[in-house]
Symmetry: C2
Subunit: 161 residues, 2 copies
């Protein structure tokens, strides 16, 4: 969990700056949640049981890539999205699943602001392009994602800060 | 659910051809699963309750984009991934969340093979680039995803079919 001694101020579009880095975690991933997610959404053998995984390319149980994305989302929410003027995202530019996420892994999130721009159509909104990365306890990068996030502006209608 | 009168043969890399279309569904999305997923992974107001959603840009409860991806994964699994030589995917090229997925929506999946190539490093594997789309009952396209999928080859080491 993030260590905070007082409530952080709510973030608006204006408060994101290119190069800014926000870190969060660690969060432990359990065997139980890997298997539960796998059984519901991605029941390939390497996501639902150690036995079934053994005869596959990976050879071991690991989290579904979509589970990894969902964990990354929750860590982003807890880190900076919920306490902000977030208006969601229109999509994702890129996802790379770089290494398996295994039971017991302690994940940390690093969010880096790549760029920002005001919306052309909505004066009350702007885009913040972010790179979101997950690392395990060995500081191996296990996942990378790039996406444009939409945030409300504190002062609608002004040009980019 | 897919209508099949006899078990479909297991698909290997060789069995995918550019232009091929595989359809699956419909699958109904319930309010309960939208809220459950939202509370666990993406607790923004528009994913966890109608009341909280009312004051947001969307104005209504809708599925998290990551829930949409996870539903798309499960439909793909049930349609063609589980009964195949699937070896997972290294990542995702692009995701577009085009329209909200709402409680009660009946989603259908359309998978289109864009291209394929043998792996350069693994003679027992090949890549199949797919476009996966979800449509609601009004035939509105609600989501688009492009990704390289990895499949085992029936006949390792031969050049592309």
């Amino acid at each position: 969990m993030s260590k905070t001694s007082e409530p952080a101020p709510k973030r608006y579009w204006e408060d994101f700056t290119p190069g800014q880095v926000i870190e969060h975690g660690p969060r432990r991933v359990t065997r139980e949640e890997i298997v539960a997610f796998g059984k519901e959404f991605d029941p390939q053998p390497f996501h639902i049981s150690e036995d079934a995984a053994r005869s596959t390319m990976l050879g071991e149980l690991c989290a579904s890539g979509w589970h990894s994305c969902s964990i990354l989302m929750r860590m982003s929410a807890d880190s900076f999205v919920l306490n902000s003027s977030s208006m969601g995202a229109p999509g994702i530019d890129e996802v790379q699943w770089l290494k398996p996420i295994r039971p017991g892994d302690d994940l940390t999130l690093r969010a880096t602001v790549l760029s920002k721009r005001p919306s052309n159509s909505r004066p009350d909104m702007g885009f913040v392009h972010v790179q979101l990365e997950l690392f395990n306890a060995r500081r191996e990068r296990v996942m990378l994602l790039k996406a444009p996030l939409m945030f409300g502006r504190r002062t609608p209608g002004e040009t980019a800060a």
